[in-house]
């Protein structure tokens, strides 16, 4: 697949602060790429460099084959952007805003169709300064789509949205993908990255600490799968003695780490053989969120580690 975004050894300094510190990655055309990281990690800085709104200090960046800073005007015709904290003219309504962008880009979007896609039809005629935070975000998304962009940069598009609105935005993102567009997404909702993204990169203190598909990252950085029983600590001791697997007991819960597929059957037979009381077992798998919290926590001198283990 062709490359939409290519970043090599990118860095950005704000005075003495190195906000982005030599990152490299590639986004292929048609992919949804999720860029994750804690507050202040350097996500917005990176996105703004890709959009041609900020100038890189070092390294090289290419978006749709263009240099974003020096070729910004041509690039902007082909990309759609929602900035983090999107703001617009206070007295202008969403319908007028879409018409305005349509005239500027010389496209003829149907404002009502576009606004209903982002679930903003009911506020099409309300002035921007009367919209709620989530409604403003939705207008931002609608405006990002007025020029039929090849690549969309969405900086936290769902922050502050309620669960149904968030899912509506997810649908829009899936549609964009199905139309062959590339989506570069930043988010703090790990679940969102897990359901939407083909590729994920986690950035922390300006460096990429993990990258790949969500599954690759979970496999590489997550703990093994576990079987969890509702049972007394005695069961944990029993299993530990017989199976040679890691068993953890806490709050009348017993977790057994699985190393191989066949381990699950061995554990179940051993539990049955123990004659000890137990109730409903479940399988537990690390999510992207568990991995994220662990990785970031480990780097921040273990401050968050105990939480990640919970």
């Amino acid at each position: 697949m062709a490359t939409a975004i290519e970043v090599q050894n990118l860095s950005k300094e704000y005075g003495p602060l190195r906000a982005v510190d030599g990152i490299s990655f590639r986004v292929r055309v048609g992919e949804v790429f999720a860029f994750l990281g804690p507050n202040g990690a350097g996500k917005t800085t990176t996105v703004e460099i890709l959009e041609g709104l900020r100038r890189a200090t070092g390294g090289s960046v290419s978006v749709l084959g263009l240099d974003p800073w020096s070729d910004a005007y041509r690039l902007h015709l082909r990309i759609g952007v929602i900035p983090q904290d999107f703001r617009f003219f206070e007295k202008i309504t969403p319908r007028e805003a879409v018409q305005y962008y349509g005239s500027l880009f010389h496209t003829k979007p149907d404002p009502d169709e576009l606004l209903s896609r982002v679930q903003l039809s009911d506020k099409a005629s309300s002035r921007f300064d009367t919209l709620s935070g989530g409604q403003k975000q939705k207008l931002g998304l609608a405006l990002a789509l007025t020029n039929d962009p090849e690549t969309c940069f969405l900086d936290e598009p769902t922050t502050g949205l309620d669960p149904t609105a968030r899912r509506a935005i997810w649908r829009v993102i899936r549609t964009l993908k199905s139309e062959g567009r590339t989506v570069f997404l930043t988010t703090h909702y790990l679940e969102e990255a897990e359901v939407l993204a083909d590729q994920v990169a986690i950035i922390h203190h300006g460096r990429i600490i993990a990258a790949g598909t969500p599954n690759e990252i979970i496999t590489a950085h997550g703990r093994p799968g576990r079987l969890r029983f509702q049972a007394p600590p005695a069961l944990a001791e029993y299993l530990r003695a017989r199976l040679g697997l890691t068993v953890v007991s806490m709050d009348s819960r017993v977790d057994v780490e699985l190393r191989e597929k066949t381990d699950a059957l061995r554990v179940l037979s051993a539990v049955e053989a123990s004659g000890l009381p137990w109730q409903n077992f479940t399988t537990v798998q690390d999510t992207l969120e568990d991995v994220f919290v662990r990785l970031v926590g480990e780097m921040d001198d273990g401050a968050l580690k105990s939480e990640a283990d919970g």
């Binding site: 709104l53 100038r55 902007h76 015709l77 990309i79 703001r87 007295k91 202008i92 007028e96 018409q99």
Partner: protein
């Protein structure tokens, strides 16, 4: 530059403006208040008695003094004795904006006492028929009284009537071009400085930089809007001045270039001031430093020709001075050559400032 994008942006500008009550107040109601306020302050004194400027060439002889006292007693006129040069009396009247004048010749007392005919000269103004009528009436009345008193009714003191130039200008006449200049300056300067700083802070320029709209298109749409507003404001001010205070101004096409060049200059200057500043606070400060001296010293409320010489030279470096002076030439003095000189200067300055503004104002940070 693309017309379609300028029109699209102009629509946004106009809508934002019309939906903002404060902005509407300042462009539509404030001009009337200004004209009303200044008009009232400066016309209040002249309402009852017509001021009559008198040159007494009879060296304050008792008879002439008594004659003037009788004129005052009629309450139709209020005598103000001056000691100007006799030959420049008429033109000085015109410059001062005095509607009527009276000259008492030397030898007035001697002639009167000897019952020899003598003429006083009344200078009146065609444009101010009411004052002229009152003064002529008063002078005639008092002269008859003196004639009767001295000599069984034979005419000693006669009256020669003369017209002063073509026009006499009152404060309100000067005030109209001055206040139009005032709003040409203040309304774009204050709002463009504010827009430059707040749009940058709120990320609206960044947002616009993601569209094909260019900075010169954006600036042009704002200039077009302020030109339109200026026409409306000027119309309101002229209407209010003429209707409420009977101002005499010529309304001609010659005004149009000023109503275009002025906003072009000050929209660009406001944008330039707002762009070189780093924060909204320093933007406001720079804006005020530029605006305030011009607001008072360019002939807005006070005629520059009445300033001390040093202040006059300072006024001559303020661009607004040429806007107002040019409008004075068009609306009051019909001096086309000087108006042309003024408007060319303003246009030249406007184009330089426009280019500087486009150059200095940035959509995006480094």
């Amino acid at each position: 530059m693309r017309l379609g994008r300028i029109t699209a942006d102009l629509k946004i500008v106009v809508r934002s403006y019309l939906r903002n009550p404060v902005a509407l107040f300042f462009s539509l109601i404030f001009p009337i208040i200004l004209i009303g306020l200044f008009g009232l302050i400066f016309s209040a004194t002249g309402n009852s008695a017509v001021p009559l400027t008198v040159l007494n060439l009879d060296h304050n002889s008792p008879v002439s003094v008594q004659y003037l006292a009788e004129l005052n007693n009629t309450t139709f006129v209020k005598v103000q004795v001056v000691n100007w040069n006799a030959s420049g009396f008429a033109s000085q009247l015109g410059r001062n904006g005095d509607p009527v004048g009276l000259v008492i010749p030397s030898g007035f007392e001697a002639s009167y006492l000897a019952h020899r005919p003598v003429n006083v000269t009344v200078y009146t103004n065609l444009a101010d028929a009411a004052s002229s009528g009152e003064v002529l009436g008063a002078v005639q009345g008092v002269s008859s009284f003196f004639n009767l008193h001295a000599s069984n009714g034979s005419a000693i003191i006669g009256i020669t009537q003369q017209h002063v130039g073509s026009q006499v200008y009152t404060y309100i006449d000067y005030l109209i071009p001055g206040l139009i200049g005032f709003s040409i300056l203040t309304s774009p300067m204050f709002s463009m400085v504010d827009i430059a700083a707040s749009y940058r802070k709120e990320g609206i320029f960044r947002e616009l930089s993601l569209t094909p709209l260019t900075r010169s298109e954006w600036l042009t749409s704002h200039i077009l809007w302020y030109v339109a507003l200026t026409f409306v404001t000027a119309g309101i001010m002229i209407g209010a001045g003429v209707e409420l205070f009977g101002a005499h101004v010529t309304i001609s096409l010659g005004l149009v270039p000023f109503l275009i060049a002025g906003p072009l200059l000050f929209v660009s200057l406001g944008m330039l001031a707002g762009s070189v500043a780093k924060t909204p606070e320093s933007a406001a400060l720079i804006g005020n430093i530029i605006t305030f001296p011009m607001m008072f010293l360019s002939g807005t409320f006070f005629q520059v020709s009445l300033f001390p010489p040093a202040l006059q030279s300072f006024a001559h470096i303020l661009p607004l001075y040429y806007v107002i002076d040019g409008m004075d030439q068009v609306m009051l003095f019909a001096n086309t050559t000087r108006a042309l000189f003024d408007v060319l200067g303003v246009f030249a300055a406007a184009i330089v400032v426009f280019l500087l503004a486009v150059r200095f104002f940035k959509w995006r940070d480094e």
